[in-house]
């Protein structure tokens, strides 16, 4: 098993912390994992993305060549990164911000109104965690239960006050798919 997922969106949408959360959760399940942020001159106020690779063996290359999953938090990412996906890959997007136009025929797509769901929870900033909840449900890469258990470790002492709202966000996303 070796699964690559790319998270992408605007700089301010918490794209990188979404990826890191997934990576840490996978690590705490003793999986092999790499997290690779994109960087570069072109990032200046533009889009951000990162790639999380999860495997049960050594990971050869951490870069997102033909990822299995793309999670797109905004419109430009939706367009740009669906092309990277391997045939049969899965494109999950924030349907609150993304209009799912012109999609490749050989991939699966699913929208989830994560900004909306986050707003319902009272904090649009956890929109990224909502979508991560949904992603976990879809990908089955890690266990939500363990994630919730390990969450204090994952957030770290500085962000413990966000524990509850994050938990709710994960569950909201997870449950949205269930429904």
């Amino acid at each position: 098993m070796l699964i690559k997922t790319m998270f992408s969106g605007f700089g301010g949408q918490g794209v990188l912390s979404t990826g890191q959360t997934l990576a840490k959760a996978a690590m705490l399940e003793n999986k092999h994992v790499t997290y690779l942020p994109s960087y570069g001159a072109e990032v200046r106020g533009g889009t951000a993305n990162c790639t999380v690779t999860i495997s049960d063996k050594d990971i050869a290359s951490p870069i997102a060549s033909e990822p299995e999953f793309v999670v797109a938090l905004n419109q430009p990412s939706f367009f740009r990164f669906q092309n990277l996906l391997r045939a049969g890959g899965f494109l999950l997007y924030n349907s609150s911000l993304v209009k799912p136009a012109s999609v490749r025929g050989d991939i699966e797509t699913l929208g989830i109104p994560s900004t909306g769901l986050a707003a319902d929870l009272g904090n649009v900033r956890v929109s990224n965690m909502v979508i991560l909840g949904a992603f976990i449900r879809i990908s089955n890469l890690i266990s939500l239960k363990l994630l919730l258990k390990n969450l204090p470790d994952i957030l770290g002492p500085g962000k413990l006050r966000l524990l509850e709202i994050n938990k709710k966000a994960f569950q909201a996303g997870y449950n949205y798919i269930k429904e």
């Binding site: 001159a41 072109e42 200046r44 106020g45 533009g46």
Partner: protein, 246 residues
């Protein structure tokens, strides 16, 4: 209705890579306007730096050569000595000009090279992600001064214009800002003056421009304009620091 303002010809019609509200973008436009107004497009040669403005060549439609980080004035010296009739200017950030390029800046100024320097002081290393610059303010938090710049061990911010003003062959040094309409107008005038000094071969000219970096200051653009007014100009007073008759 008459068109009273439109994009200067010397500014290529492409979106810039700068962050929202970044001062570099405004300064680029002012330079382009002057290239048009002073008919300099065909003689200008610009030396952009390593820094957020490294891609300036994508925007300004004039001859350009990229310098290694900090060495723009040395490169400009080489060009100007070979082509004394061209309008040669460098465009440099505070890290570029006042840290790694300190020696080149000081000696180019001291030799009185007939070039103009557009010096963008945003009190931070923009391109590399917000490290402390030689012009970072006392107490300012950056990614490499996590508890704020300690002037006792890291030194106070360097005032480039004041430092260079002690050198005989510097003939025009002004500090301006691009945080308000009035200041932007002054900035344009100052750059024009610098170019004129070069044309009249009076000596070395430099315009220091206080410029916002909302991203690394971690402020929204408007707040950063205010920060320049309220905080930054206290350390870096605006105005002509030195001018000899042109």
């Amino acid at each position: 209705m008459k068109k009273v303002y439109s994009r200067p010809k010397s500014l290529k019609k492409v979106p810039m890579h700068y962050c929202p509200g970044c001062g570099h973008s405004i300064i680029h436009r002012l330079i382009a306007e002057l290239l048009d107004e002073m008919s300099l497009r065909e003689t200008a040669i610009c030396v952009p730096p390593a820094g957020c403005a490294v891609l300036a060549y994508n925007y300004l439609d004039i001859d350009m050569v990229e310098a290694p980080h900090g060495r723009a004035t040395a490169v400009a010296t080489g060009i100007k000595r070979v082509r004394p009739d061209n309008m040669v200017f460098s465009y440099q950030g505070d890290g570029d000009l006042a840290a790694i390029g300190t020696a080149e800046t000081l000696h180019t100024a001291n030799r009185g090279e007939l070039i103009s320097v557009i010096f963008v002081n945003n009190a931070i290393y923009g391109m590399t992600g917000g490290q402390m610059a030689p012009t970072t303010l006392a107490g300012q938090i950056t990614t490499t001064s996590p508890s704020g710049r300690n002037t006792k061990t890291e030194g106070p911010p360097i005032r480039v214009c004041e430092l260079l003003s002690t050198l005989e062959n510097t003939t025009y040094l002004e500090r301006v800002a691009v945080n308000s309409p009035a200041n932007i107008k002054k900035t344009k005038k100052a750059i024009k003056k610098a170019f004129q000094h070069q044309q009249k071969k009076t000596g070395f000219s430099l315009v220091e421009i206080l410029s916002s970096c909302p991203t690394n200051w971690k402020m929204d653009p408007l707040k950063s304009c205010r920060w320049i007014d309220e905080i930054m100009v206290k350390e870096f007073p605006l105005g002509v620091i030195k001018e000899v008759k042109c």
